[in-house]
């Protein structure tokens, strides 16, 4: 095979993997939008907060240590423990559930029946609050996230594929990051779990009922507030997974909250209300932007990925505003 063909395959595979990473962020948006019609602006910050909390708990960091030390003149920093990753993840999940309860009690409860734009604005406020709160709680330094996920190119794959190119060509084997492979498996597991949960459990059916029609769900005795807590908690869990995967690449730092920008074109393309749509949308964006950068990028100066994703999303908006898998909104006037 020609190296150029193999490089194209490599770019496509890496695009698919990158798309999965985008989908992980988009999933959190979809869950909340589907169940409550809220576009959660704070989803990126939730991923950052979850990752910061995970590192803090795992490394035994004392929350608000800077604040406590400044106020009381103490010099405390750590509890002196280093917890196993799984245990730390479970504890972090507990924090995210607590976070969901607080969001429902302090924000959503007071905004029932408000316009979606009001709820959206509330999530903007929540995002700013959490940015500052997370920094106060865990500090703003870059944290190394180590939960045992392998990273780096797969040597096995390189060895297996190095001979695929014609002899004498400068081909070094196919490159796929092991972290991306893990992220793909995790995303697959996540989607299967979420689908099973929503299809075959009582709570899942209640979630779908609320998503379909709030009033009807309320009339048959489904507690909207309980459902909101569950949805935000699940979304917090998805944010944690996204935070782990992205945090493993760049360290846990403020910029992690910007990954939400990567999810927007995915949502527009896949639809705001479809879990499979978030995955398919992510894959299309991932492959599309990588192939465009590989083929057209060098001709126009490169760095095309950011805007290409949005242009692709814009095209979909023109021809299919609800996205590939989103529900068509029909409103009586």
């Amino acid at each position: 095979m020609s190296p150029q063909f193999l490089y194209t395959i490599e770019v496509m595979l890496n695009g698919l993997m990158a798309g999965v990473m985008y989908s992980l962020v988009a999933l959190g948006f979809v869950l909340i939008f589907k169940a409550s019609g809220i576009f959660n602006y704070a989803q990126g910050v939730m991923a950052l907060f979850a990752a910061m909390t995970l590192v803090g708990i795992q490394n035994g960091q004392v929350p608000f240590a800077h604040l406590v030390n400044a106020v009381f003149g103490t010099n405390i920093h750590g509890f002196g423990w280093n917890l196993p990753a799984l245990f730390a993840i479970i504890l972090t999940l507990g924090v995210m559930i607590l976070f969901a309860i607080l969001v429902e009690r302090l924000i959503l409860k007071h905004l029932v029946n408000q316009e979606p734009i009001i709820l959206f604005m509330a999530t903007i406020g929540l995002a700013f609050f959490m940015e500052g709160f997370g920094d106060l709680m865990w500090g703003s330094d870059i944290k190394v996230l180590d939960v045992g996920i392998p990273s780096g190119g797969s040597l096995w794959l390189e060895d297996k594929t190095i001979g695929w190119a014609a002899e004498g060509s400068n081909y070094y084997g196919m490159y796929i990051d092991k972290l991306d492979i893990v992220a793909t498996l995790v995303a697959l597991l996540l989607v299967i779990t979420l689908t099973l949960f929503s299809q075959y459990t009582k709570t899942g059916r209640a979630l779908r009922a609320v998503a379909d029609d709030h009033q009807a769900a309320l009339s048959v005795g489904i507690s909207l507030r309980r459902i909101w807590v569950i949805v935000w908690a699940i979304s917090g869990f998805v944010a944690l997974v996204a935070g782990i995967m992205w945090g493993a690449k760049s360290g846990v730092q403020f910029s992690l909250s910007l990954i939400a920008l990567k999810a927007l074109p995915v949502l527009i393309l896949g639809g705001f209300t479809s879990i499979p749509g978030a995955i398919i949308g992510g894959l299309i964006i991932g492959v599309g932007e990588k192939l465009f950068e590989f083929t057209i990028g060098p001709l126009i100066g490169g760095a095309t990925e950011n805007w290409f994703a949005y242009v692709l999303a814009l095209l979909f908006l023109v021809f299919r505003p609800q996205g590939l898998f989103g529900e068509k909104i029909i409103e009586r006037v």
Partner: protein
């Protein structure tokens, strides 16, 4: 009634007179345009701490500069250009002597404003490179080194590793796709024509969290060296991706804004051997750090909680403080007064001489290069060094002396760019000497 009117008038005129004639302040005022929040806070905090701590040290140890206390006016910019300009406008009336904008974008916006207000700007290692031409940029200084010096330092280092011959070598520039990131391109292109290396330009869009395409390209094209002009999360991801494709770290050289502990720590042991440029020393093996501990940190007067002392960016802030204080001393010496104005400060910066004796007396012996600033050269000689990361020890180490850049190439570029700026803005070049 007439008497009352006359009294009120006298009070009003007198009051206005007091307001107009009184000195702005009895302190030496240094606004610190810092960013302790936002995506770049992790870099902004140590720099701001270092700058503030040096001023506190001067106050506590020496009783100020020439007997006048230094006062830091910190204003949060969040690394946002608009907020930076607001900070400038809100602090300049306090008697500000010099601004360190700490952002290329903010520097560009402040160049005309500060020049009109007669307040000098010191953009140390950033900002508009051609501001080194003091005949055009009367109030802008960028000593001891600028981006074009940096590009030349990187090429010089590669030359030194290849016995002075890099003809046919492949060098890739991975850069932040912004005005900042594009700064070295022209210089690298000129140097490519001079030395015969092949230059590949690889832009990375802000913020730079996803760089798979760029590093797949590097893996395909196998450049001999990669030079990086990155900032923030772009640095951490680039170093991680370079490690993932097993690019040799000793052939990966970042500019000084891609060379702090924050950039290498997330990649762990895989970042070992990564190099970066610098124009000041690393570590805490200097007498000034003992004084800082005694007079600032242990006394509870540190700007932060003391955990940043000795990091690369803390040292850069400290060095900025040192250069500022030395310029104040020079201004006081020139004008024979301790209470200097911003115009006097500008004179001090223009006559600044950093010698080994001056560095030693500040407890910072050989902390940076020796250099002079002059009326026509606001950038100094452009000396720089290369530092390398030792992941096992968790420390940076200088692996070269402070060496010159290719001023034959750079001076011509500075003249060309500053002349164009002067033409666009109807600035008549000053006569120096």
């Amino acid at each position: 009634m007439k008497k009352l009117k006359a009294t009120l008038l006298a009070i009003a005129v007198g009051g206005a007179g007091v307001l107009m004639s009184a000195p702005a302040t009895a302190d030496l005022v240094f606004p610190s345009l810092s960013y302790r929040t936002g995506p770049y806070a992790v870099n902004g905090i140590p720099y701001a701490d270092g700058y503030a701590d040096y001023m506190t040290l001067v106050n506590e140890r020496d009783g100020g500069v020439g007997g006048v206390k230094a006062r830091i006016l910190e204003c949060e910019t969040g690394y946002n250009t608009q907020k930076g300009v607001e900070c400038y406008e809100s602090t300049k009336g306090e008697g500000a002597l010099v601004y360190h904008p700490l952002s290329t974008g903010i520097t560009y916006q402040l160049i005309p404003k500060a020049t009109a207000d007669g307040i000098p700007i010191h953009s140390m290692g950033y900002g508009r490179t051609s501001a080194a031409n003091g005949t055009v940029f009367s109030h802008i200084f960028n000593y001891p080194a600028n981006y074009w010096n940096g590009a030349s330092h990187a090429v010089n280092h590669i030359l030194s590793e290849n016995d002075g011959d890099i003809k046919g070598k492949k060098i890739a520039l991975v850069y932040h796709n912004s005005a900042y990131g594009k700064e070295p391109i022209r210089t690298l292109e000129e140097l490519s024509a001079k030395h015969g290396y092949d230059l590949t330009l690889i832009p990375v869009d802000h913020p730079g969290q996803e760089q798979k395409s760029q590093w797949l390209q590097i893996r395909r094209e196998r450049p001999d060296y990669v030079v990086m002009w990155g900032w923030g999360v772009m640095n951490q991801v680039a170093i991680q991706e370079a490690a993932n494709i097993r690019f040799p770290m000793e052939n990966f050289i970042g500019v000084w804004w891609s060379g702090s502990e924050n950039d290498v720590i997330p990649a762990g042991a895989k970042a070992n051997g990564y190099k970066a440029l610098t124009f000041h020393q690393v570590g805490t093996e200097y007498a000034v750090f003992e004084d800082l501990k005694k007079y600032v940190v242990d006394a509870g007067k540190a700007a932060g909680n003391g955990d940043q002392v000795g990091t690369v960016l803390y040292n850069r802030g400290l060095y900025a403080g040192f250069l500022t204080v030395e310029a104040v001393k020079k201004a006081q010496e020139i004008h024979g007064t301790a209470d200097i104005t911003s115009e006097m400060m500008r004179d001090g910066m223009e006559a600044l001489e950093i010698t080994s004796d001056i560095m030693a007396s500040a407890g910072m012996s050989a902390f940076g290069p020796e250099f002079n600033v002059s009326c026509d050269n606001h950038g100094g000689p452009g000396l720089g060094a290369v530092q390398q990361w030792d992941a096992n020890a968790g420390t940076w180490k200088l692996i070269s002396e402070f060496e010159p850049s290719d001023m034959d190439v750079i001076s011509a570029l500075i003249t060309e760019d500053s002349d164009a700026f002067a033409g666009e803005n109807n600035i008549e070049a000053r006569k120096c000497g």
